[in-house]
Subunit: 371 residues, 2 copies
C-alpha cells in the first residue's frame, strides 16, 4: 500500500523563489489538535520549538495550551527567553563549557523564567554545578534516560545514582526525560517506540524513588509517539514537528495529509533534459534529509508522479512520468519538504499565509542558533 | 586501497561550539595553487563563491589572480556587487520572474560591473529580454550546454540556434558554459567528466560559429575537473570548493589532505551509550550531505577510527573502535565536513584563523541568499 502523501498549502502569487511559506491556519489547527489530544490524556504538552525557531509560532503553541516549551540549544533558550516565554526546558545533555557556563547561569538566574536543562552523566552534573558556583539560584535539571534509541541518556535503572550525584553537586533534580527517536525508523516503528518511552520513564521513576527523589517530571517526546506515550507515569510530551507537518510525518501517520503547513515555493527554471524539469530549490533550500521510506528530497503534491531525484546547491532535478503533463518553464510549484526542522533553519524568514493570503514576513528568530 | 582522509586545521581554544572555523593560511595556499595551475594552462579562473559566500574570501581569490567570480543566485550576485566585485557571472539558468526581473536589470545596469547570466532555453531568453525592455544596458548571457551530467543545459550541438534566438531577443551572447557534475560520482569519474566538458564546449563553439557568433567565453567548471578541463578551447574554469576543501574533495583526489581549511568545532556532550560518543554538531551543523564513497556525515581526523554514523538536529553520534581511546566528555574535536558548500551556508559567521590563532569573526555575507 503506498504511503499517504501530503497536500501542499496554497501559495500566494508573485513570490520571489525559493521561498519558505507557512500557513498559519494549518499551524493553529495542528496546535489545537495535539493540545486537545494530549490534554484529554491528562498529560502536559511542552512542544519542541527547534522545528520552527519562531517566537510567533511558539506563542501560538502556548496560547493553545502548551505548559511551556522545549528547546535543543542554549541559543534557542536565549531567543525564547528574551521574547518573554517563561518556561523553557533544554532537552539536551548540556555541557557547561567555559563559553557556555555564563550563558547557562544567566538563564538560571533570569527573573520570571522557569528554566531546566538535561544531563546524562555525573561529569556533566559536576560541570553544571561549577557553572552555578556562588549563585543564589539553583539550576533545575532533568536526567536523560535512554529508551532503546541508543543516542544519549543513561540506563534508566541507573537514574537514581545519577540523580543523587546531581543533588550532591547542588543541582535540583526535577525528574527524567527520554526520546524514542526510533519511532522515525519506519511507519511501523511508532508503537514500539512509544512503549519504550513509557517503560524507560517507569523504570527511571522507580530508580529515582529508590534514591529518595520523587520525580515531578517524566517527559517523553517525539511527534510520532506523542499521543501514544501520553499516559501515566508520563507527565509531559515534547512533540515538535506536529505543528508544521512534513512529508515524513505524513508517511509515518503522525500528520494528516492536510496537516502540512509548510511549502517551499520554487520556480521551474529548466526543462532542457528529457523527462525532467529543474526547480530553483536545491540542497540549500530543501536539505538532503531523505528518510529511506520516502523517495527523493521532497514532493510536489500538485504533480504526484514527480520525484525530486537529485539536488545540488541550487538545483532540484525532478523526474516525471512522461505520460503526465509537467509544469511549464517559469511556473511556481509548492514543494513539500521531507523534514521541516532542518529546512526551516535554512531561512531567515518565512512568508506567513492564511489559505494563500499573505500575512507578512515572519522571522525564524533562532535560525542558526545551533549551540 | 582506502581513500585519502583530510587533516583538520588547528582549532583555537575556548570556542563556543558548534563553531565554523576556516584557516586563512590554508585558504590562501589553495587559492594560489589553483590560480597558478590554471594560469599555466593559459586559461582564466573564475571561482564559484557559492562555496563560502564570503566577500573577504572572494577578495583573496581575486588577489590571487581570479579573472572574476561565479555565483549561483541573483542574491549572491547582489551581495558581491555591493562589495565592489566588478566581474560576476551567474552560472545558472536564470528565470526572470516578475520578482527577479528588476533585480537582474539593476545588476545589468550597474555602473562598473561586468555582469552575465546563464540560460538554457528560448523561453528564458525571451523572459530575460522582457526584463531588459527599454533599458539602455544590454544583458550578457552565456548559454548553458549539457556535458553528459543531465541536469541543465541544452544539447551542445543546438547552441547556435539558442544563441540566435537570444540575440534576436536583444541579448548579448558571450559564449557557452557547462558543468561536468558527474565528476563527483566517484573517485574514478573525474577524467571522463573533464573530457565531457571539453567535448561539449568544442561542439558548442562550432555550433555558435555556424550561427555566425564567435564565442568569447567557453567556461567549464567544477573543482574535481578544473585542472583537467583547463585546455583549449576552454577559456575559463569555475572551480569553487577547491578554496576550502572538504572530505569529498580529498576522497576525489581534488584536494590534498592538508588542503582542508574548514573544521566544525564540536564538543563531546555524551558517552552514555557503549562504544559511542555524541558531539554537539548534528544535521543543523554538518548537513546530511553524504556521498556514497565516504562513510558517515563527517570525520574527526584526530580520531581516525571514529565514524559520525547518525545525525539528528543537534546530535552527532560517533561510533568508535573500542580498541582505541575516544575523546573525553567536554573535549572539543575538529570535524571535517563531507561537503563544504551547504555546511558553510548554515552559519552566519565563521572563526577565521591562521594555524589556530584567531583573526576574528568573519561574516558569511551571502548566507541564505539562495534565490
Amino acid at each position: 500500500m503506498p504511503l499517504p502523501q501530503p497536500i501542499a498549502p496554497a501559495l500566494p502569487g508573485g513570490l520571489d523563489t525559493p521561498a519558505l511559506v507557512i500557513d498559519i491556519d494549518i499551524v493553529e489547527r495542528n496546535a489545537q489538535r495535539l493540545a486537545n489530544q494530549i490534554a484529554a490524556c491528562g498529560v502536559a504538552l511542552r512542544p519542541h520549538v527547534k522545528t520552527h525557531k519562531s517566537i510567533a509560532l511558539a506563542r501560538i503553541q502556548i496560547e493553545s495550551g502548551a505548559s511551556g516549551i522545549t528547546v535543543g540549544t542554549i541559543g534557542e533558550a536565549e531567543v525564547m527567553a528574551d521574547a518573554g516565554i517563561s518556561d523553557i526546558f533544554v532537552a539536551y545533555p548540556v555541557w557547561a563549557s567555559a563559553a557556555k557556563a555564563p550563558r547557562i547561569r544567566a538563564l538560571a538566574e533570569r527573573p520570571g523564567l522557569r528554566f531546566a536543562v538535561g544531563l546524562d552523566s555525573v561529569d556533566a552534573a559536576a560541570q553544571l554545578a561549577r557553572a552555578m558556583a556562588g549563585s543564589s539560584a539553583r539550576l533545575r535539571v532533568v536526567l536523560e534516560v535512554d529508551s532503546n534509541y541508543g543516542r544519549t541518556g543513561t540506563n534508566a535503572a541507573m537514574a537514581g545514582d545519577l540523580a543523587r550525584a546531581a543533588q550532591q553537586a547542588g543541582l535540583e533534580v526535577a525528574g527524567a526525560f527520554t526520546h524514542g527517536g526510533h519511532g522515525y525508523a519506519d511507519p511501523a516503528a511508532r508503537d514500539a517506540a512509544a512503549a519504550d518511552e513509557i517503560e524507560a520513564l517507569t523504570v527511571a521513576a522507580a530508580s529515582l524513588r529508590t534514591a529518595g527523589i520523587e520525580p515531578q517530571v517524566l517527559s517523553a517526546g517525539s511527534s510520532p509517539t506523542a499521543t501514544f506515550s501520553a499516559r501515566p507515569p508520563v507527565t509531559e510530551v515534547r512533540a515538535g514537528t506536529y505543528l508544521i507537518g512534513d512529508r515524513q510525518q505524513v508517511a509515518l501517520g503522525a500528520s494528516p495529509p492536510d496537516g502540512v503547513a509548510i511549502a517551499i515555493a520554487a520556480t521551474v527554471v529548466s526543462e532542457a533534459v528529457e523527462h525532467q524539469f529543474v526547480i530553483d530549490a536545491g540542497a540549500k533550500s530543501l536539505t538532503k534529509d531523505a528518510p529511506t521510506y520516502i523517495a527523493g528530497f521532497g514532493s510536489i503534491p500538485e504533480f504526484p508522479g514527480a520525484v525530486i531525484e537529485r539536488v545540488s546547491d541550487y538545483h532540484g532535478q525532478v523526474r516525471y512520468d512522461p505520460a503526465t503533463v509537467p509544469p511549464k518553464l517559469g511556473q511556481v510549484v509548492a514543494v513539500a519538504p521531507n523534514h521541516a526542522c532542518p529546512v526551516i533553519d535554512l531561512y531567515d524568514s518565512f512568508v506567513a499565509t492564511r489559505s494563500g493570503t499573505v500575512l507578512g514576513r515572519w522571522q525564524v528568530d533562532a535560525r542558526g542558533r545551533s549551540g
